[in-house]
Symmetry: C2
Subunit: 134 residues, 2 copies
């Protein structure tokens, strides 16, 4: 169940109270929390957690490839469990809401374009910004 905790153990990370709390908070998040929101949520499991620990933990998880860090342009990084992140994002400019989507044709095209330019695709970022159609 606690997939992330297991993955961290597998990666050889030591498991502390603070870390467990943050991992749980992240796992239970269906959205894309920033470091402050994540801190708040983690406090539910361990009220003594410091903001700095959230940043430190997120950095480690990102390096381990367990977390993806996004920047949707409001000056704060937002995080998402890597496993849940097999999609791109559309940002509703009217509300700030973030919609996830996936398109196989698009994925293939990204790889194809990189190849055409002589590169092997390692990573990519696609964000669409739109307003609702009436």
């Amino acid at each position: 169940m606690s997939d992330l905790i297991q993955k961290c153990l597998d990666a050889g990370l030591s498991m502390t109270t603070a870390r467990r709390a943050i991992l749980r908070a992240l796992e239970n998040s269906e959205d894309h929390p920033d470091a402050f929101v994540l801190h708040d949520r983690a406090k539910a499991y361990d009220p003594t957690i410091a903001q700095a620990t959230v940043y430190r933990t997120m950095r480690i998880l990102e390096q381990e490839g367990l977390v993806e860090k996004h920047d949707f342009g409001n000056g704060r990084a937002r995080y998402e469990e890597a496993e849940k992140a097999q999609h791109d994002h559309l940002i509703n400019l009217s509300t700030g809401e973030i919609i996830e989507f996936q398109d196989p044709g698009l994925e293939a095209l990204k790889i194809e374009i990189a190849k055409r330019l002589g590169f092997h695709l390692k990573d990519h970022r696609l964000e669409l910004y739109g307003v609702p159609r009436k």
Copy 2:
């Protein structure tokens, strides 16, 4: 010739020495300079320019839609004349080099996906990160 200066005038912006210098520097840039590089280049036309003025000017130009602000993940915003920015970017992870590309099929697909989700596409951002194929 000085397209940007004319566009600024058309937009009703007042034209100062500092602004002209920054606009020229930007116009002569074929790459994606950050605020510091742009500051350096603008000093060639007006050595008294302050960094803050570069930031202020870029913000105004962005609001007017004359400039695009990019974030390629190194913590510094990078700017590009909007007119020259009809393309996406591939970042060479080995060298940091930025390659511009354009793909009509991709453009169409972005619009199509937004439409399918019920949105009218206002803006988008696509970055591919890759390593050279041997």
